[in-house]
Symmetry: C2
Subunit: 332 residues, 2 copies
Amino acid sequence: MEKSVQTLTSFIIALTTSLIFSASAMAADPLPSWNEGGSKQAIMDFVTAVTKEGGKDYVPPGERIATFDNDGTLWIEYPMYTQALFAFDRVKELAPQHPEWKTRQPFKGVLEDDMKAVGATGMEGVMELILATHSGMTATEFSQEVSRWLATTKQKRFDRLYTELVYQPQLELLAYLRANGFKTFIVSGGGIAFMRPMTEKVYGIPPEQVVGSSVVAEFQLRDGKPVLARMPEINFINDKAGKPVGIYQHIGKRPLLAFGNSDSDMQMIEYTMAGEGRRLGLFVHHTDAAREYAYDRDSHVGKLDKALDQAAARGWIIVDMKKDWKQVFPGN
Amino acid sequence: MEKSVQTLTSFIIALTTSLIFSASAMAADPLPSWNEGGSKQAIMDFVTAVTKEGGKDYVPPGERIATFDNDGTLWIEYPMYTQALFAFDRVKELAPQHPEWKTRQPFKGVLEDDMKAVGATGMEGVMELILATHSGMTATEFSQEVSRWLATTKQKRFDRLYTELVYQPQLELLAYLRANGFKTFIVSGGGIAFMRPMTEKVYGIPPEQVVGSSVVAEFQLRDGKPVLARMPEINFINDKAGKPVGIYQHIGKRPLLAFGNSDSDMQMIEYTMAGEGRRLGLFVHHTDAAREYAYDRDSHVGKLDKALDQAAARGWIIVDMKKDWKQVFPGN
């Protein structure tokens, strides 16, 4: 009997300890890299309101959909989109098999590091670069190529891998939303197949919760083995007015919360906010030249102009990187 | 002290009771509507193997993707696909606004219940019917229309709603897979927007885990309000070789288990089985004229012919409805 009481006592101690630990975990700040203030308060008030059972703003877990843009919202995009840099590197790698590129824009510009010449070819030139470097291989081969590049290529100024140049406050926000029953999605203009190899490890977002632009894929048998071939043809551009469309086709539910950083995210945020009940729309404003970059109205990437003008009137939250974020990247 | 020992004792009793209950829940048959035998055994052996930590076939939960065809695999499809019947009813409803349909096939055939005339217009005619009845409204309006139809239209022979003519053994299988860490998806040739209004309630599969055919959608502002307009243009046909493509674009992972019922599911199953490690591919064979229907090689819906011939050699499981299923529909 002595023995069993002892066992019971240690059981109770273990139980009490675990209760104390979970209580303190609940009390801890879920967003430690966010400075106290308007943006953080707005987020926490919103999450509290929609998760409070019996409250007037309550939303059941299945409807708690949060969508995040990727470039400039979850990871660095300045001075050039990561995927474009990947495409440039691929052009250089593939150049020996394409002697014609030496004299043809936009390839010539890439090979000579002449970004002005590349830029002069406009959207059409960019599409040509993307198709030339993102198709002509199987799905598996492309995924391996992306993984290899991401594991070995460093951003120049910060001398870190791109997957390390993600925003710590956003990692905390994603985790906080998930802990509150939200399902988190990426909804990006970037290539779906370029993002998927890293989103689960870096953001905790599995491939099936990534919505993005895509090339046409084709099911083929090669030596009797089924493969998915990536074709040199655009399937869908998940940008601007394409974002609500991508959300409809892929998710089939209207987001409760949407987070972007540029005018290209306006339609996603508009669509989100037009839903019934309480919703939250946010934009990252890149204001921090010291810790990251400062750019908005005149930027060639992540242009934030109209959304800045309209935010106040439309109830969108502008998150000021310099003021709202205690820390920008993980680790330091 | 007496008091606290009493509390501890009742705590222990509660704990023991709950342990006994969970043990008995674990011991209970998770697939009671499946007869003992080859198919059931193959499924349970497979799930045990891929979920056994440290085992040679172990697969981590995130990779446990199961894809199910819908028509004829999860719910009834004979003598006519449910979505086609919905389209026919819509044609009749919309006919007053389209006087030209009285003299034009395939609409004339639908209005006169002349299925032979409709059939004579072939795939092109079917597409015309689908586009005429599935576009020209907003996403929200279409979803409401489908919900209303599904809530009010009964299948003639069984005099039950289509959402009640789902297969009980498959509902058990979906729940069993989810209880074992699988994420369950529908991958159907049917319209994604036709299925989504009912999949969560009926199958426990949320809209974002439904992959299907789609029309083009467009983001529009109507009186300043953002809507998604369904356009009279096919976006994607998620059938046959389209199924592995839909899986790639939508899920981004190769299934571990895939379940179909017709030759249109062969590519999905081929793609699934070609993955590394242990995989499972299954087909429902409709052999039960008494409890449901019996059809295969010569059927105009859910034709199962080549897959029947190749199953044994390729290691695909043919589930014989009559022999393998103790019960077909829920309730009874």
